[in-house]
């Protein structure tokens, strides 16, 4: 079942077509990897899907509903969350508060309920607290929960960013080069984590540079080059695809 779909997505920056007429789909429960050389348009596609940019052309559908042009905060509340290529934690806030920020899309901040306890805010806070504790334990960050995000070592910052994204129980998780800058052991742990998240029912779209790395984990691989989709299929097929080989070698 299609959970997310983009048809003929184009994003122009001046004369540059960073994403050029890309048809894209994500099926419920899969791990789809998006690969491609530097500047291929991978992050731009993420920015389109999450509402940071509105596509110059084309449409985006979630569960068959047209969500083109929706604001990032409403896309987040539909259950699509993400991490960033360059970590973008709220670095002066604690680990705990960063995860709480991630929960915003689920519980919001109604003016009244934010200031004084109301029945609905009490309920929301209880839910938030449960999710917070779950995420902290799940990612092994519980003992660091009061620490400022910026004081965490790099690998844990990446982990926290994932924690912030999964806290609201998203349907779709977008990970932009989560392994960047990690050592082999951290990368292995990360791959295990991604697998586990998928087994928990989260559909995953993963950007990764390293072909070898994605081959093991992905159900499907899609390749972008100069903004265009040049391949889409099973990892083994994509690996053999002459155009992909050319894009990566040339």
């Amino acid at each position: 079942m299609r959970i997310l779909k983009g048809s003929k997505l184009t994003m122009k920056f001046g004369g540059l077509k960073a994403v050029n007429s890309v048809d894209f789909h994500l099926d419920n429960g899969e791990i789809l990897s998006l690969i491609g050389p530097n500047g291929a348009g991978k992050t731009t596609l993420f920015n389109l899907l999450t509402g940071i940019y509105t596509p110059t052309e084309g449409n985006i559908y979630m569960d068959e509903k047209d969500i083109t042009g929706s604001k990032p905060y409403s896309i987040a509340s539909m259950g699509i969350t993400r991490t960033f290529q360059n970590i973008r934690l709220f670095s002066d806030m604690s680990v705990e508060d960063n995860i709480m920020m991630g929960l915003h899309s689920r519980i919001g901040a109604p003016f009244l309920g934010s200031i004084i306890p109301t029945p609905s805010s009490i309920k929301a806070n209880r839910f938030a607290k449960e999710r917070l504790d779950w995420v902290l334990n799940y990612l092994g960050l519980y003992s660091l929960r009061k620490e400022k995000a910026k004081n965490l070592p790099y690998g844990l910052q990446r982990r926290l960013e994932i924690g912030r994204a999964i806290a609201p129980e998203p349907e779709v998780l977008l990970l932009d080069e989560p392994a960047a800058g990690m050592n082999p052991q951290e990368t292995n742990e990360l791959m295990g984590l991604i697998h586990d998240l998928r087994n928990k029912g989260i559909t995953i779209l993963l950007i990764e540079h390293d072909m070898k790395l994605v081959m093991g984990i992905s159900d499907r691989v899609m390749v972008l080059n100069y903004g265009e989709k040049i391949a889409d299929g099973k990892p083994e097929e994509v690996k053999q695809n002459p155009e992909v080989i050319k894009a990566y070698l040339g």
Partner: protein
């Protein structure tokens, strides 16, 4: 010694008022990087709202204060909606120029609607003086009210910004708008709340000034607005405790200069301090000198 302590008390009262206005400057700057030059005029609006609530509707202090805060909060959100929001994507200078325009609009609108005359604020609190430390410090009821109200406001603000979801959303937006919106934060509404809170604090300052100095008039916002702006820059613009520190510092210095030196230099001193501090610490007293952009 006695005179010095007395000047300190007066300075802290004046400084509290600057601090309350400076908070609005700094909060709005923190969230949209705009020096909201109309902020001093919101303070004027707050003073008038308080004036009418007390003199025309015969309300007591606290209800008048709350009404004035509500009116200014709405005015602040309205200005943001009408004047600044359409310029979201325009170059920053456009918004700045618009802010000056809004300021002139409010000042001249004030002159038209309220008339240019200076109005005398009714006496709200008994004229009574309390002595402390064996007569070393004398506080009037007004001093006590100003200082108490400021402390209460600071506590409320601290709670709001650091403990509530709205406050956390405000901090998140000011740190990274895109990331915050991807967390589900409605950036636009959060900016509106920031304007509302900053403007409500300016209203408090306006009512307090009315009570403290007994007069209100349509151009009363210009000088305090400017000094509060200086206070905000002095403390480190965008940094909440900085605004308070800057406000108190300028209030105290001004009063000391007027008390011991020449009261003609009073207004110049604020600017002199600003220049000196900025030469030594370009990002203000509490500002980090280079904020890393992620």
């Amino acid at each position: 010694m006695q005179q010095f302590l007395q000047q300190m008390v007066n300075g802290l009262s004046l400084g509290s008022i600057y601090a309350l206005i400076a908070l609005g400057y700094t909060m709005v700057y923190g969230i949209i990087r705009l020096i909201n030059f109309a902020h001093g005029d919101i303070y004027m609006l707050g003073a008038f709202a308080g004036f009418f609530a007390i003199s025309a509707f015969h309300l007591s202090f606290i209800p008048s204060l709350i009404i004035s805060m509500a009116i200014c909060a709405l005015a602040g959100m309205l200005i943001k909606r009408v004047a600044y929001k359409p310029l979201r994507t325009a170059p920053r200078i456009s918004m700045l120029i618009t802010a000056i325009g809004v300021s002139l609009f409010l000042e001249n609108g004030g002159l038209m609607v309220f008339s240019p005359s200076i109005r005398t604020f009714p006496t709200v609190f008994p004229v009574k003086t309390f002595s402390f430390f064996g007569g070393l410090v004398k506080l009037t009821v007004k001093d006590i009210v100003v200082l108490t109200v400021m402390i209460v406001m600071l506590i409320l603000l601290q709670y709001l910004v650091y403990r509530t979801k709205i406050g956390k959303a405000m901090r998140a937006v000011s740190f990274d708008k895109d990331a915050a919106s991807l967390m589900g934060v409605d950036v636009d509404t959060t900016i509106s709340y920031t304007f509302a809170i900053g403007s409500a604090l300016a209203a408090v300052a306006g009512v307090l000034v009315g009570i403290y100095y007994n007069s209100v008039w349509p151009l009363m916002g210009i000088m305090p607005g400017l000094k509060a702006f200086i206070a905000a820059v002095l403390g480190g613009i965008g940094i909440i405790p900085g605004a308070v520190l800057g406000g108190l510092l300028i209030g105290v210095t001004e009063t000391l200069v007027a008390g011991y030196g020449n009261s003609l230099y009073r207004d110049g001193v604020a600017f002199a301090i600003l220049i000196i501090v900025l030469l030594l610490r370009p990002s203000g007293l509490l500002g980090k000198n280079q904020r890393e952009k992620v």
